[in-house]
Homo-oligomer: 352 residues x 2
């Protein structure tokens, strides 16, 4: 077993604090990874505070992991000691259902194993995430970080990146597409960069007029303050796809009305409370769809990383020491981050 230092939530209300635990003894197909960086996703906070219910404490959050391989099992073929690798939201799945068979492990019909707050099949224990100094992962769930990519800024690609890349691919975004992105946070800023790199015309919708310049810098062709009905009307029935990254409940109708015929608004944020019900006429009148999408499969995650490397895309980040995580959560709730906190796990070592 591997003794591991980390930061955990111990109950829904207390701040996160130091927590030591054991990783499983690496098996023949396992990759042992020294964690260098871990992005801070809103899901981490939801789980730390059990906002989706049922969190298993203590829980070490973090599923945007970048690290270096320290050892590989005897049957590992894809990775070698010293390589830079990533781990995203999943560390296992059944490998024999319709989802897994198609490389869509995120839709595993028997339930994938989350990187944290899941149940580790090998041990029956709770999985623990990347706010820690090491992790042991089956090589099938390990990603290769492309050469030359900044490891800290790559970390958020493992969740925020793939969560927005996957629906852009699924709904075939490319040159000629007009794509809306709702919300300019961790997911939204990745959606803007990725959709732009795929050749789409990109419109960013925000409630904050102050985000205009930044959105244009990130790649948006136009920025619409979604409370301004005239600005909204200028894009009526014109969008092929809207990637809605806002997890807080909000009125979907003004956005649905911007879709052209057969257009889709895909929700990638999961609010604890439902959105107000959309008007059926908005769906019927131009045969529009409201859909959801969950992260992405492992093969697709690798394709996303390679796409990002090719197009020089990483996340805009603010690096923090692990000791600042509780402040970071508060700032995240206020939207005070451009656009993803990434924990430098070196800070854990320094304190140990």
């Amino acid at each position: 077993m591997t003794h591991t230092h980390g930061y955990a939530a111990f109950d829904p209300r207390s701040p996160l604090g130091p927590y030591d635990f054991e990783r499983r003894t690496p098996g023949p197909r396992d990759v042992s990874i020294e964690i260098l960086f871990c992005g801070v996703c809103h899901s981490d906070l939801h789980t730390a505070r059990s906002e989706w219910g049922g969190a298993k404490y203590p829980v070490v959050p973090g599923h945007e992991i970048v690290g270096r391989v320290t050892a590989v099992g005897s049957e590992v073929t894809r990775y070698r000691e010293g390589e830079l690798v990533g781990v995203g939201c999943m560390v296992d799945s059944c490998q024999h259902c319709a989802g897994c068979d198609e490389g869509l492990e995120q839709y595993c019909l028997n339930g994938f194993t989350g990187t944290y707050d899941g149940i580790e099949k090998e041990t029956g224990r709770t999985t623990q995430g990347g706010y820690s100094d090491s992790v042991v992962v089956d090589e099938r769930f390990v990603l290769r970080i492309p050469q030359g990519m900044d490891p800290a800024a790559a970390a958020p690609l493992l969740c925020a990146g793939i969560t927005t890349y996957s629906p852009l691919r699924r709904w075939k975004v490319g040159p000629g597409s007009k794509v809306g992105v709702v919300g300019l946070g961790g997911l939204g800023h990745m959606a803007v960069k990725l959709a732009r790199a795929m050749g789409a015309e990109v419109v960013l919708f925000t409630t904050s007029p102050g985000k205009r310049e930044d959105a244009l810098r990130l790649g948006a062709h136009d920025v619409v303050v979604s409370r301004e009905s005239e600005q909204m009307a200028a894009h009526a029935a014109s969008l092929d796809l809207i990637v809605n990254t806002v997890a807080a409940p909000h009125n979907l109708d003004p956005f649905l009305a911007l879709l052209k015929r057969d257009g889709t608004m895909v929700l990638v944020g999961a609010p604890a409370e439902p959105h107000p019900s959309p008007t059926v006429f908005n769906l019927i009148l131009q045969r529009r769809s409201l859909a959801g999408s969950l992260i992405g499969g492992i093969a697709e995650t690798q394709a996303m990383l390679d796409f990002c490397a090719e197009h020089g895309i990483v996340s805009d980040i603010e690096t923090i020491p692990i000791q600042a995580i509780n402040d970071a959560y508060e700032r995240m709730l206020k939207g005070d981050v451009k656009y993803r906190f990434v924990i430098d796990l070196g800070s854990l070592k320094a304190a140990a």
Copy 2:
């Protein structure tokens, strides 16, 4: 001008009664039609009572029209005097937008002209529907009733038929598909027949256990009482498409949960009040979609009629005289019709 006898609603509360009016003078591209039969659609009642708001009284409902050509204009090429023809929900559209260009006049970006309660471009007057003895329609919006098809039972195909046929085609239903149909009314019974004829496995969902035998007779492979959670669970994550024909607000979540990955539930009923908001997780977890669909284009309506002729499909109907229309509305509201009332317009002549 053509003097026309009909039945109209004069205000939202009074019963429908006799109403005489003029049809426009037929133009060179117009087909003059003696109406033989007209189906009774729930939209007729919504409009007669202005339940969607803004009805223009007096209004003659009816958009499931079958009749015989009595005269054609000098430029009409597709129809001749004496032929059996149909008219559905539309009598005109702009003919030059993206929707019309693709033969999807129902999604005309400038708004199609409804068969009743619309604005007739030629005259600026309110269009009046098929609860009447004649109608004048541009040949582009006239359908051919296939030879040998029962004209009364063909009438509901013009709305109930195309409204369910179009989404079945759009979502590529065929052999190997598993299709759910929610509700066994005018639309639902057509959806069952059509999906079955396309080669799909068909599951009918109803709140009425008494509809089981009838649903099986109509072509369903299985019938599920949607309030029985065990029966529902037997189809979890197994359906490719659900055609939801229920216009009354109801909980969509139990049905969304029956869709397999990438499945779609398409709403074809338009409730005056919204459905309760669906749970976002139900969309995200298997990348499901909630969509809407509106009737169908003219070319597609002809294809549907030809498909029905080929497969021996018509609507199950109960024929009524026009004088029984107000009773029919009350029975329709109680679900007491198998499965569509069709007015025999001969009854209008007899009374005149």
